[in-house]
Symmetry: C2
């Protein structure tokens, strides 16, 4: 596609999104929820079409790994699950218009701080086509227009999913450009859209580190990043070792490929004798390969030597780095040095140790006596999430509907003048 034509296409997308966002900001919850229900029904009703479009994607993806093909695949069950997701978003409260704070000032001026949509969101994602449905649902419910850019492997699936959802917008009184899909696979379209900060308020890349770094480097608008997590469990001297073993195994093995899975285990030396051999056995039984410090290896003969790179690594696999530490201070210093400020847990029965860990570990979620796997939007009570932010600015940790809003001050006076 020639540059001028691509520029026009991108600019049109962005302008249409901006106009749609202006309308969408003031539509009622009733209209938004009606669309969520109608969209869900349409997805279920049109399942055979969706499966057929997905088959075209699968046919074109013969060279992908079985795991990647599985992520790409849409079955009737997965479509039903995406539709259910839309209905669950409908059940959540409307974040728009929520009064976050409000007071009368001493001079009688009445001040409200009210949640409003961010505006236009550019959402970039890879592979899984059901993310198309999740992102559209969360964006519209939070009053934001969204421009979707999926992976090329899922192009046929995404195109049809988008069309089905967009067709239901007008019938619910919503602007038809509230949900748009970038209709070209030209990679330059991404670069062009990332320069359009006059129309687009936020970019959210969801995918591998390469995608996120590219978007962060090129974007002229703010970017909500969610890098992977190098999450720790620290087993304190005062830990209940049965509980510690269960938490370690759950944090590592319940779903090893995700960002809130444990990547590194720290054990207080006072607990090492009793704990390292048994946890080593429990992990080995689940196929986990340990890379440990010298003391760890003195207990676990099968453990490899941990390098600096291992302590910093996000394995996303059945691999675990492990270190025996002399005290809680060393554990916290290790987490500060190697961690990614995502999710870090302590297992302890000691109140002082728990309070110290909670106070000094600066991660999006600091967990006491529970699995690291609980750091997600559903588990923390946000309802649904569009990702887990590793940024500290705007939103941190799971991002749900509230995190897709900003606020404005609404000020009522009776002719108040500044003195």
């Amino acid at each position: 596609m020639p540059d001028a034509a691509l520029q026009t296409l991108c600019r049109t997308l962005a302008e249409q999104a901006r106009t749609a966002a202006e309308t969408l900001a003031t539509v009622t919850r009733k209209a938004k929820d009606a669309w969520l229900f109608r969209g869900a029904d349409a997805l279920e009703r049109r399942t055979p079409e969706i499966v057929a479009a997905n088959a075209l994607d699968l046919a074109g993806a013969a060279d992908l790994s079985p795991a990647m093909r599985d992520r790409l695949k849409l079955t009737p069950e997965r479509i039903k699950s995406a539709a259910e997701g839309m209905r669950q978003v409908a059940a959540l409260p409307d974040p728009v218009g929520q009064v976050r704070d409000g007071s009368f000032r001493p001079n009688g001026l009445q001040v409200h701080k009210v949640s409003v949509p961010l505006g236009v969101i550019f959402f970039l994602y890879e592979s899984r086509p059901n993310v198309t449905v999740d992102a559209a649902a969360l964006a519209v419910k939070s009053g934001n227009a969204v421009i979707l850019r999926g992976g090329k492997e899922a192009f046929h699936s995404n195109t049809l999913l988008h069309r089905i959802l967009a067709e239901e917008l007008a019938s619910c009184g919503l602007p038809s450009h509230a949900v748009q899909l970038v209709s070209t696979l030209d990679r330059d379209a991404v670069g062009l859209l990332l320069k359009m900060n006059e129309f687009i308020d936020l970019a959210i890349p969801r995918g591998g580190e390469g995608l996120i770094r590219r978007v962060a480097a090129e974007a002229t608008m703010p970017v909500l990043k969610h890098y992977l997590g190098n999450c720790h469990v620290y087993v304190d001297a005062a830990a209940d070792l049965d509980m510690a073993e269960r938490i370690v195994v759950n944090s590592k093995c319940q779903r090893p490929g995700v960002c809130n899975a444990m990547e590194s285990l720290l054990v207080h030396q006072a607990a090492a004798d009793a704990f390292v051999p048994r946890v080593g056995q429990a992990l080995a039984a689940r196929g986990v390969q340990v890379r440990g410090c010298e003391i760890t290896r003195s207990y676990l003969s099968s453990a490899a030597e941990a390098t600096e790179a291992d302590y910093a690594a996000e394995f996303c696999d059945l691999i675990l780095s492990m270190k025996v530490v002399p005290n809680i201070e060393t554990a916290i210093a290790h987490i500060r040095r190697y961690g990614s400020k995502h999710t870090d847990a302590i297992v302890t029965g000691d109140l002082k140790a728990a309070r110290k860990f909670v106070g000094e570990v600066d991660s999006a979620a600091v967990v006491v006596n529970a699995s690291t796997r609980f750091n997600d939007g559903f588990e923390l009570g946000l309802g649904a999430e569009i990702g887990i932010s590793t940024d500290k600015f705007h939103a941190r940790g799971p991002c749900g509907l509230q995190e897709l809003t900003t606020y404005k001050y609404v000020v009522y006076g009776d002719g108040h003048l500044k003195e």
Copy 2:
């Protein structure tokens, strides 16, 4: 300074700030407030020294305009006022540790969302040396380490103000690098620091548009921007015209050079006959030059013709663009097209018009029947402010202590595992 030495200097600053921030995040309010009071006392006690250092800056700034020299000047009264500002910050609640939200999840997991400092703030500012004191006070009270970079005109003043405040840190048990000043005027230092996002969490440029654009373009960390405002007052058909005149005059003339002053006046055509001549007279009496549409000029013979550029302009001066509009929809469309989403006001007695304006105007502050000048941190109840954000992401409008924090999730379980 050779590049390697400058790189080392900047990296040292940034690393020291990071280390200080780790400590500062967990110090008590008592220690922070003690520093605010001791710092205030030291400023007052050392007033002669400060005035002498400031005299060196003034001597070197002979070529500046009288207005700029006035901004640069530190008098005993201004030093006392800066000290009072520190004491006022001490009186504000500590934002760190505030529980923003909290609940038990259905499985018994206890979730708290707790305010924590952002970490390290790089604060860049121009001319007024008392900003050194304000920024240090707000940063430390909110638990953040700050790297200050003032304007070259104020170098002697800033250096001494920083030294006085830094000397009091250790005696209050605070880390001595909690407040640092970039000790070189080399402009490359700014570029180097803006690349150090591993140590610096946020950049805040406060000054002219050129500074803000440069920082936004070069920074690798998030930037809290506060551009100037193109603020509107819309006088509705149902306005009390006495009130409207007072609000227009106050919004424009009370302090014309600041970002929340009115730059553009919109008048409903039904009110034009009665309002435009009288407001024209009131503005002319205060030396305001009007640039208006054709209808405006039919009432005001002295008004110049308004161009597109005038409607988009932030005059920061006694100049006002003015337009008569056929209805509220046109007024809102005009604000959307030309406004800067900073502060926009409606004067009306009509509830429906007020609700429509509040709902559809997407500005940091939307004001009903009061002056635009109320959009600042003190007037809206934030206590003090480090600036007024024109961004929608993270914080919008006035930024006080709360806006200099983020949050973390603190999760307590009893051995909870993810199913």
